[in-house]
């Protein structure tokens, strides 16, 4: 498989009056055609900023302070802003969390789907219109000719997110970056939208990078998973293996905090403590203050993301020692994840 996207050692910093917030700290990931990669972590873990950095959409004043982003084999960090925009937008498209704000409220949804074909791909209006209608049909919108003329506020959340997917597809990208695409939707609609994305992947070989805090969404969609904490990837590997046998205490703790419908729930488990302050330099592992398996080394020395076995990596000093982790995190209570 050819890598559509390769991010290496990406760093993003946000200058604030109180100091520099080091939000993304050396993140590396890659995505290939037809593959779905998940990026999971709690709020403030840097997952969305990573995605926006890749798409060159960082909010002011956040800036990329290090690392390389290679898209379709070309390093975009060396390009001019204009070249980069052109290259990125022809290779990738992005889907956002809130489909109401992600659509222009003053434009018919069909025209928004047809916009890139007309303005960028040089299609005639009538063929772009036909193409847009076809895309609407493809993402599962019934009666696409009629829906073409609707305004965003006239459609339901699930339908709007389908429109957003259709807009993303209109540019014929190899890779779709999705930032919490189902978080704002009901569970049943969530499943439908994820179904659309899965079909695109299967039928058209579109790659997918999915950012979410919802492990259930990831486990049903992505074959590869990156777990982020405090601006770093702390564990990386095939989704099934990570979920069944986490090798980073944070992944284990995250899995334990997912309620299991088959078990009697006495109380929802949460991870004690608070996420790290990214304004400060963290000498050791960012998770150490909350980690039940912490050892002295964790607070003084940063564990690197080191390979453990085939295709897996964990940034934990005790990754190979997981049998000896305290029992309350050693076994994922959830057992098996469900989509």
């Amino acid at each position: 498989m050819t890598a559509l996207l390769e991010v290496h050692d990406l760093n993003v910093e946000i200058p604030l009056s109180s100091g520099r917030l080091h939000a993304v700290r050396g993140v590396s990931l890659s995505a290939s055609a037809g593959q779905a990669v998940g990026l999971v972590g709690e709020s403030g873990s840097g997952k969305s900023l990573t995605l926006r950095a890749v798409m060159d959409l960082l909010p002011v004043p956040a800036t990329i302070t290090g690392g390389t982003i290679v898209v379709n084999g070309v390093d975009v960090s060396r390009m001019s802003a204009k070249q980069r925009r052109e290259h990125l937008s022809s290779a990738m498209a992005m889907i956002f969390q809130d489909s109401l704000t992600a659509l222009n409220p003053t434009m018919r949804v069909g025209d928004q789907v047809a916009e890139v074909p007309v303005r960028r791909l040089g299609m005639s209006r009538s063929s772009a219109r036909a193409r847009a209608t076809e895309l609407l049909d493809q993402v599962g919108i019934k009666d696409p000719e009629r829906r073409y003329r609707a305004y965003p506020h006239e459609l339901s959340g699930g339908m709007r997110q389908r429109i957003c997917i259709a807009i993303a597809l209109s540019a014929e990208p190899g890779l779709i970056l999705a930032d919490e695409p189902t978080t704002a939707l009901d569970v049943t609609i969530q499943a439908q939208v994820l179904g659309v994305l899965a079909r695109l992947r299967r039928d058209q070989g579109v790659g997918l990078v999915l950012v979410t805090h919802d492990l259930a969404v990831i486990s049903g969609t992505c074959e590869h998973l990156n777990v982020m904490y405090g601006g770093r990837i702390v564990e990386d590997g095939p989704t099934g293996e990570l979920i069944h046998a986490p090798r980073h205490p944070y992944t284990a703790a995250l899995l334990r905090s997912v309620p299991d419908p088959d078990l009697p729930v006495h109380r929802l488990l949460s991870i004690a403590g608070a996420p790290p302050d990214l304004l400060e330099a963290i000498p050791g592992c960012a998770f150490a203050p909350r980690c039940p398996a912490v050892i002295d080394r964790c607070t003084t020395e940063q564990p690197p993301l080191a390979p453990i076995g085939r295709m897996r990596a964990s940034a934990c000093w005790r990754a190979h020692d997981h049998e000896h982790w305290p029992p309350d995190i050693a076994e994922p209570a959830a057992g098996e994840m469900r989509a």
Binding site: L57, T101, N104
Partner: protein, 285 residues
């Protein structure tokens, strides 16, 4: 004003968040303004008097005797001057807002989008213009340019654009971080397309609402300039000069100043109702 109404009305997005298309406030405002515009357009049908024809033998007549609102100190028909004055004041008021709206709006759009030195320089210029009192600057400019409607347009445009630049810039700063603007950027659309189709229709409402009250302000500016002898040249009928001439007779013929004054108030009311109606329709507060 047609360009201002265009995107809002056609785009409907802001306008259509709630199903209600028309509301009582908007309807009342439009009806009132419509009546004023009709009265101005069909002035020759509503009165047979010539607004500038003098008849010194029939000066300062009471209402009645063929003169609906009597005559002024030069024997001109007050009702005719009121109707023809609407032509002058509505036209000058609207045009004196149109140019600042277009120029200030365009500059604010670019400044908010681009940021950087352009934004910095533009906003400092805005600060300077804002620091000087509106009337002082307008009067000084009209004085320098010579009196007449053209000078009024230029002076009000030079001073008035700053408000639109500020409003639109502020709205763009918010809108450009909205996801639809990010999506438009991500999809590689040309900048002009993002600005004109994705941002402008979504930021124009605030500027449009402001322009409604700004029309009243520019009518007042014209009135003030007329008072200082820098306004619309005589004998063109205009409400400002009518008020100014009428005030000499305020104790005997109070309506000479009060009626054109009321016309200004009604115009202001109509425009304020339209502005409120649009805000209400958009569902914003």
């Amino acid at each position: 004003m047609t360009t201002a109404v265009g995107p809002v009305a056609r785009g409907r997005g802001l306008a259509a968040r709630r199903p209600l298309r028309m509301n009582a406030t908007l309807a009342a405002g439009l009806a009132l303004l419509g009546a004023l515009v009709l009265a101005a357009v069909f002035a020759p049908l509503l009165t047979s008097w010539d607004p500038i024809e003098q008849d010194l033998s029939r000066s300062l007549q009471d209402p009645g005797n063929g003169h609906l609102l009597g005559t002024d100190q030069l024997g001109r028909d007050v009702f005719a001057r009121l109707l023809y004055g609407a032509r002058t004041d509505l036209r000058v008021g609207a045009l004196a807002v149109l140019f600042p709206f277009l120029i200030g709006g365009a500059l604010g759009l670019v400044a908010g989008w681009r940021g950087g030195w352009f934004d910095l320089v533009l906003m400092r210029v805005v600060d300077i213009v804002v620091a000087i009192p509106f009337f002082v600057l307008v009067i000084a400019l009209v004085f320098a340019l010579g009196s007449g409607t053209r000078s009024i347009y230029i002076a009000i445009t030079l001073v008035g654009w700053v408000a639109y630049a500020r409003i639109v810039r502020g709205e763009v700063l918010v809108a450009k971080e909205q996801e639809y603007a990010l999506a438009a950027r991500a999809s590689g659309l040309p900048t002009y397309r993002i600005l004109l189709r994705h941002l402008l229709p979504n930021v124009v409402l605030q500027a449009f609402v402001f322009s409604m009250s700004d029309i009243v302000l520019s009518i007042l500016a014209i009135v003030t300039l007329g008072y200082l002898g820098l306004g619309v040249p005589q004998p063109t009928p205009d409400w400002g000069s009518m008020i100014q001439e009428g005030q000499a007779f305020i104790f005997t013929k109070w309506y000479l100043a009060a009626v054109p004054g009321l016309a200004v108030v009604i115009t202001g009311l109509a425009l304020a109702l339209i502005a409120d109606g649009f805000v209400h329709r958009s569902g914003r507060r």
